[in-house]
């Protein structure tokens, strides 16, 4: 297996080098006059070598495209070889020895592919060539633009494949005697979500290469018009969707496995995934400015580049060990490779930007500060600022070390203090932005659109403040008691505001269609959404985001309690009473487990039985906790089995009461739904014929602005 794998990786590198070089030559020698009448004949009569290249530039380009497609096949074979090696327990391969063992369940054996440094790079290359494969198959959309994008993509592929071949070969053989069993997969990773979290996150990271390739391609070729951004848009949305899923799966995994009762720790690796997400989100918004008004061309170019660059930077951070993190990837010299790659891409991008920046001139005028355009500008400012804050916080320990000679920790308290106010501003903008008209919005129109949602939001906030605290959180919210309560109240209030504005958008749009067609309100809203999936899908995403934010706001009311519990001992937390029924241990092939059995009472009635657990994995000699989480819409009861007190022999249990956490996961589903909806093509715009005969048919299909927001 290792032979096939190593060989296919080398072949993939050779093919990607060919795709890059041949593609480059083809574009370099592409006859600028060939496109005009008679140009091809004139080029054909040139007998020199460059003339020959010029004549055949298109054919060379086509071979480059095909080589790019074959890179996928080669990398696929390599990845398959690695997976097969894992399943066949081929511990002669060092990577398999270190990341698998005989008793590992099948799904985790599959996950071996991305659970270590070398394998995850192969996986990265596989996804990249997968994107490249799809891109090169779809070249008919715009062959010239796709040719440029293909060359950029090939360059990135060359980097990753060279890295794998020369610095991180996953098929390296184990030194020394043959071992009977591997050291196994890190137990923290032996959790179902870990099988899908890395692929999603990687799909997100890697996917930003595609918009970047298009952007750089369009910049190099001085693409006329804004069509390229229209083509890129869907790719960006897919990528963004994957990254979103990946990030939240990671959060959910941390919540369900790490056992500290939280889902986000502002660890450098988490931050690394958040940064491209923030910039990508900014881009998804500002792209509308370019499509609709031809504005922000330079800015968008930089945003696409930044999203890609930050995705690579994230990888660099996790692999180089330059910033300490709990995500302990093997630290090795490949950090240098990434550093050079980051420097080179930056230089290449800046070079072409400076060379062709005149092409990115925008011409439009803005009528007013109160307009959709300026709301997008502020939106971008806040997203980029959030990204900068995260970057700043991630690097501050290094900066501090350089300036004052000692490291400091930049943890959750810092981000809570700095990022939450900015995020709240962003939430205000989410509410206002969609209600502003393009070009200019009068105060009167703002009042008209904003009055009812504001009244609704204020009413909810007042309600939350005056209700008795005994109702459980988030009722009885007293913002003057603690800054976190204040933030929480603002977050919930603003979320309600956003939800109401979204609802009013659907209602107003639905009403227009309903008046036109006589359909019911719901059918009209469905039609409305289908006519402009991006806008209304986007609104649904906004709605999902505020549901997530309400869930995050619940963290202000978290409680926890810790107790050593003998048989029959009770622990009370919030409305729940936990009673220890028994505790025991058991052996399994892959691990040994100890757990407690707890009965849960609420209002004097038993409602559930929990079994928080702790496992000891034999192959890796590591322990991990399996918290038991009882999730409801109101709150999560989260119980961790911390271990036995050796003096008394009683288990120590820690219970967390985390209000509203389920809203986060619910919101994510809504976000995913909204993103998927935004990817659905718009229903075709109805034909507009002014003749009297078609009036009736027109009435049956009321037109809505198609595409774009």
């Amino acid at each position: 297996m290792s032979d096939i794998g190593s060989y296919s990786l080398l072949l993939a590198l050779a093919l990607s080098v060919y795709a890059f070089v041949a593609g480059f030559i083809s574009l370099l020698f592409q006859n600028p006059v060939a496109a005009l009448a008679g140009g091809r004949e004139r080029a054909a009569s040139d007998p020199s070598f460059s003339g020959l290249l010029r004549q055949n530039s298109e054919r060379i380009g086509e071979t480059a495209r095909r080589a790019g497609i074959m890179v996928f096949a080669a990398v696929f074979v390599a990845a398959a070889a690695l997976v097969i090696a894992a399943f066949s327990n081929d511990f002669s391969i060092a990577y398999i020895f270190h990341h698998s063992n005989r008793d590992l369940p099948a799904a985790y054996k599959f996950a071996t592919l991305w659970s270590g440094q070398e394998g995850s790079l192969v996986f990265w290359a596989l996804l990249l060539s997968g994107y490249g494969f799809v891109l090169r198959l779809r070249y008919k959309t715009d062959p010239r633009l796709f040719a440029y994008a293909g060359v950029v993509l090939a360059a990135v592929q060359v980097f990753f494949l060279a890295l794998i071949n020369f610095a991180a070969n996953p098929f390296g053989l184990l030194q020394g005697p043959m071992r009977p069993d591997g050291t196994g997969l890190n137990p923290l990773l032996q959790y179902p979500e870990m099988v899908i979290h890395p692929p999603m996150l990687y799909l997100g990271y890697v996917g930003f290469t595609v918009p970047f390739a298009f952007a750089l391609g369009a910049l190099i070729m001085k693409y006329p018009g804004e069509k390229w951004i229209h083509i890129t848009r869907r790719w960006t949305m897919v990528t963004w969707g994957f990254l979103t899923i990946g990030i939240f799966l990671g959060a959910h995994w941390a919540y369900s496995v790490l056992g500290w009762g939280g889902y986000w720790g502002w660890d450098p690796v988490e931050n690394a995934s958040l940064m491209p997400w923030l910039v990508g989100t900014a881009f998804l918004h500002s792209v509308m400015m370019q499509e609709k008004r031809g504005m922000l061309k330079v800015w968008n170019m930089w945003l696409v580049f930044a999203a890609f660059w930050l995705a690579i930077l994230g990888t660099f951070l996790t692999r180089s060990g330059i910033i300490s993190s709990v995500h302990a990837f093997a630290q090795s010299s490949i950090g240098d490779w990434f550093a050079y790659f980051l420097a080179i891409t930056f230089a290449v991008f800046v070079y072409f930007f400076l060379k062709n920046k005149n092409h990115l001139h925008s011409e439009h005028k803005l009528e007013s500060l109160m307009s959709r355009e300026s709301s997008f500008l502020f939106n971008n400012l806040l997203f980029v600022l959030l990204c900068f804050t995260v970057l700043w916080g991630t690097w501050f320990p290094k900066i501090s070390e350089l300036v004052q000679g000692n490291k400091v920790t930049v943890g959750a308290p810092f981000y809570n203090r700095v990022a939450i106010p900015v995020a709240l501003l962003l939430l205000i903008l989410t509410a206002i932005g969609p209600l502003l008209a393009w070009r200019k919005t009068s105060f009167e129109s703002l009042k008209r659109n904003f009055l009812w949602p504001t009244i609704g939001a204020v009413a909810v906030m007042v309600f939350l403040m005056i209700t008795p605290a005994a109702w459980g959180s988030p009722f009885g919210l007293r913002p003057w008691l603690d800054i976190s309560y204040f933030y929480s109240l603002m977050a919930i209030g603003l979320s309600v505001l956003v939800a109401l504005t979204v609802a009013s958008e659907f209602y107003r749009g639905g009403r227009v269609i309903s008046e036109k067609t006589g359909q019911g309100m719901f059918a009209s809203m469905v039609q409305l959404t289908h006519r402009n999936t991006r806008r209304y899908g986007g609104y649904i995403v906004h709605f999902g985001v505020v549901v997530v934010i309400i869930g995050l706001a619940g963290a202000a009311f978290n409680q926890d309690k810790e107790k050593e519990m003998a048989y029959g001992d009770k622990m009370e937390i919030g409305p729940y009473t936990l009673v220890c029924r028994s505790y025991t241990d058991e052996e399994f092939p892959n691990y040994a487990a100890e757990w407690a059995v707890l009965d849960v009472y609420k209002n004097g009635r038993q409602i559930d039985t929990l079994t928080p657990e702790r496992r000891f994995y034999k192959a890796s000699q590591q322990t991990s906790t399996m918290p038991f989480i009882r999730s409801t819409l109101n709150e999560d009861l989260y119980v961790v089995y911390e271990g036995l007190n050796q003096d008394t022999g009683h288990p120590i249990l820690k219970a967390h009461l985390n209000p509203l956490v389920m809203w986060i996961w619910l919101g994510v589903w809504i976000i995913i739904g909204g993103t998927a909806l935004a990817l659905v093509p718009n229903a075709p715009a109805p034909m507009r014929m002014p003749s009297a005969r078609t009036v009736e048919s027109r009435a049956n299909a009321a037109p809505v602005p198609t595409a774009g927001d």
Binding site: P413, V418, E562
Partner: protein, 201 residues
Amino acid sequence: MQHPCPPPGIKERTQGQPLEILGAASAVQPLKARHLDLMMTNQHRLRCLMHCGLLVFAVFALMGAGADPASRFHDIGHRMMCICGCNQILLECNHVGCPDSDGMRNELMAAVTRGDSDSLVEQAFVQKYGPTVLAAPTTQGFDRTAYIVPFVGLILGAGLVILVVRAWKNRPTPVLADGINPARGADLQKFREQARRETEL
């Protein structure tokens, strides 16, 4: 094989209780009443504002000191890191067999029960474990820049956006790019009408 994470002295502890500021509300009353009796000249208004500001500041400053030990333990414990290398907040460190978090929690509890002020506790921890024990940069010296820079960014960025919008607003005429001339005369009417017709609902 494993260790009990809570400090042996404490069998049960509750965290996350809201802080009650008793007496703060009643302190506002006499001050406010006295000022309302006076004629509200501008100067008075300013002084009143300053007083209110000071009062709010005092209330926030006292919040930490006046709280009960359990919530102070919780508060300070969430501002510190476990130093074993797990990169977790001290009170959230749950990793089994942690060599440090137990001792640190005990020290913290002892200090809080003694009635040491927040800054004293933090200083003591920094002395013992080094500055990385604090979960966030302090607000002194160079550390302050950690907090200042993002907000400076916000202000500069907002200023920049406003400048950009103003510049766009003041562009002379909506020029069409690529040498397209605005339509004139009969053409203008004809094409405007065509556009209207083709885009009406």
